[in-house]
Symmetry: C2
Subunit: 168 residues, 2 copies
DNA sequence: TCCAAACCCTTGGATGTCCTAGTATATTGC
DNA sequence: GCAATATACTAGGACATCCAAGGGTTTGGA
């Protein structure tokens, strides 16, 4: 989508902030902007790897969640909570996965409000293959040094906890 | 969109990866997933602050870019490169900002292919006010410790450079 | 017991992102 | 000078996300 820029646009923005007298928030602004951009880069890599499988990242995440769940079937609201996305996003993903024959919906045995989702055999197979591809082509070549990975897990873990993602 | 989970879902995923024999990529997987989730949290905060101004993050970024540009008018392709988004995304944002009276399009004086975008007076004022709000309500309360901010800038800066974002 | 409040999922609408093509204008090479 | 190639923007389509609202089911208090 573009060639490398001559200079780091985020470092430029940080300098702009300092120049305007906002030096006290320039660094957090740069860090947050860098997170946004990094996410964009990583998402593009992930989607690129998943495309041959006919999957998007959103659909893969749901497939992976189901493949690791203890119980074979998961309520949609549970999936929404664990994936931390809006319930309508899960509805959307399940619609498409079901059209592709990778998951099936079934009614909850005792709660008429709840819908369960479950992997089909093809869904389980595809989840395995897609995970293997992501492991070798993205996670195995993340571009982060080992110590940096640890730092990221620590820093972002604390941030997410403070943001109310999880207790503990 | 949800209450805190009892446990960190990303730490759970990391354990799942290790349990399946993918221990060598479990940590990068967790780090990358944490980046995705952190971006989601930050974006929600930013959009929440910008909503009263009638802005989204995409539109704000364009407004901010224009307000810091040396030249009053910027070609659309330049904006696309600096914001690192697809040209059609800039077209989309400019359409809406123009409808809102915050920017105007004008033809390039010498290159008939190029369209310049320029802030209106209202656009410049709104950019200032929105920036002030983001500085106090988001960047000033990022939730990252000062040393962590430095770590993030360093780690993600190197990552972005290796990913080909910029030379230097 | 029974109705109001809470909960679950889905539909419809607004936005944003990207990709693919199409149109118009510039630049390059012969 | 003219054709071929490259560049700039935009239109249309596929997906994802969220919010608001609606319809069905369960729960809980009067």
């Amino acid at each position: 989508m573009g060639n490398p820029l001559p200079r780091d646009p985020i470092a430029d923005a940080q300098r702009n902030w300092e120049r305007h007298g906002w030096g006290d928030v320039a660094a957090p602004m740069a860090a947050i902007t860098a997170i946004m951009r990094t996410q964009q880069i990583l998402l593009a890599r992930i989607e690129g790897v998943l495309k041959p499988f006919g999957l998007t990242f959103a659909r893969y995440e749901l497939l992976a969640l189901l493949s690791f769940a203890r119980s074979r079937a998961l309520p949609m609201n549970k999936a929404s909570a664990l994936l931390q996305v809006h319930p309508t996003s899960v509805t959307n993903a399940v619609d498409r996965l079901q059209d592709a024959g990778l998951v099936v919906r079934s009614p909850h045995p005792t709660d008429g409000r709840t819908t369960l989702i479950e992997l089909t055999t093809e869904g389980r197979t595809l989840a395995k293959r897609a995970t293997a591809a992501l492991n070798t082509e993205v996670f195995g070549q993340s571009g982060f040094a080992s110590q940096d990975v640890d730092q990221l897990i620590r820093i972002l873990g604390r941030f997410r906890q403070n943001a109310g993602d999880f207790g503990d």
